[in-house]
């Protein structure tokens, strides 16, 4: 699985939505599945999958799939 697929799978698992719905434009609090509780599950999932420890500001800024990619790149996760 490449990093893009891993990211999609992590979002899909944490939010309980099909992987094909995980697109760059998907944004926090715009679908019922991505509420604050799901956000916490998502952060835990991303930290596990990519073996990183996110800072408070990064957790708060991670408000879309596109944003998640940008932030994870700061932690040396690269998306081709």
């Amino acid at each position: 699985m490449d990093t893009q697929q891993k990211l999609q799978q992590a979002f899909s698992d944490a939010l309980g939505i099909p992987p094909e719905k995980v697109i760059d434009g998907l944004t926090y609090n715009t679908i019922p599945e991505w509420d604050s509780t799901a956000h916490m599950v998502l952060i835990a999932e991303l930290e596990n999958v990519f073996d990183v420890m996110l800072d408070t500001d990064d957790i708060i800024d991670m408000s879309s799939v596109a944003q998640a990619k940008l932030i994870l790149q700061k932690y040396d996760v690269s998306f081709a």
Binding site: T37, A38, M40, I43, D55, T56, I59, I60, D61
Partner: protein
Amino acid sequence: MSHAELMIPFIEAHRYSERVALMDDTDSLTYRQLSEAVERRAQNWQQIVALHRPVVMMLIDNSITSVVDYLTALSLDYVVLLLNRECTLATREQYAQALTPNAVIGDGTVTFLHNDPPSTDARLSLLLSTSGSTGAGKCVALSQRNLTANCDAILAYLPIVAEDITLATLPLSYSYGLSVLHTHLKAGATICFTRHSVFDKAFWEVIKNRPVTSLAGVPSFYEMLLRLRFTRMTLPALRYFTQAGGKLAEAHVTSLAEYAKQTDKAFFVMYGQTEATARMAYLAPHKVLQKPGAMGQAIAGGEFKLTGENPPDGEGELCYRGDNVMLGYVEKAADLAAFTPPEWLATGDLAVCDADGDYTITGRTKRMIKIAGERVNLDVVEQAFLSILAGQNLTLAACVIGEDDKLIAVYSGELSGEQNAQLTDQLVKTLAIPKRNIRLLANVTIALLDNGKIDYASLARQQKGVA
């Protein structure tokens, strides 16, 4: 009644104070302005509702106008059924049918329904739902005496002062959230609301800029804070924080207690139930590191006992006595007429008591779990699951087990992935429980006890670590 005589609960001592009582993201109201707003609203409502002590259904959220609604209704001695504004239309309709309210109130507006005088016990003041926003569960009936007694007992141990600014993140329709409102109003402190969640930058700006001096939350709130590295934050104005509404994992309790110790704050672990207005016990903050699983001792004026104790550890059902014990339960309008309050409230929780007199919750007598802080009766869920299976003509042995935040529907045999997805979707719809809290488990042997009942205990042991 002229408005000058209107007694407003909780705020009488400082009703003309210029201190800020309520604040949201854009507005604020001083105690004097709050009193005036209540007086005006009371005059308006009296034009619309001529009845003495009408039963009203009140839909509230965490807003200034909802607090004005609530205090107005209490001042006018209405019997108030308090519901979360976010509850479903179906839930409202169920309560409307069961309790036949005279009016519905929300957002400062009264919608008059009928003029039939309700028959209500003279002590009855407030009805709180036991099921949060999921479905129309039975209500807990509380008196003004219950509210006052619990408010005073909480003020006797929490260090609330008039200079405080608390952030009310718990819904006001929930007994714990309501207790935060009552105590801070009584102390003349400031209650702050925000529409932002902990994962919004604006939430932390509110915390730092007001600045917020205390926080109150259920386990999921603290799990989020810890995920956000709360224990690494510098929050000099924050003096103390409280946790109740279920058991927070001991590791989390310890992290929070260590943070409190290092930063000279106090962390209160507390225990309560809507049936006891809100609060029954708290653990002295200096004991939290030493006893991270305990919930402490009864509040002032309250008393615990254990019944049906089992040696050797002395575990028994926790019972509580005090002026904050409810009048009783209400399921239909006829129940409002008269109450026989229980002297001892059987909490349904199992507990042990240590040599210092501190109590620790060890389990529950009923098949009940909490999902996102809201009670879920596993027997009710099981009935729903069985009827969903029957509706799809699936003849399988099935039952429901679970632990907090995890509902496990198990069945014998095997179903397709598509069938599983359908079952989950139907459970989500029927029960209003988030999908992430539901697991389906196939190929489970459902063993029975000698009396023919399902052996839930052995099922739970089997599934531990599997799901």
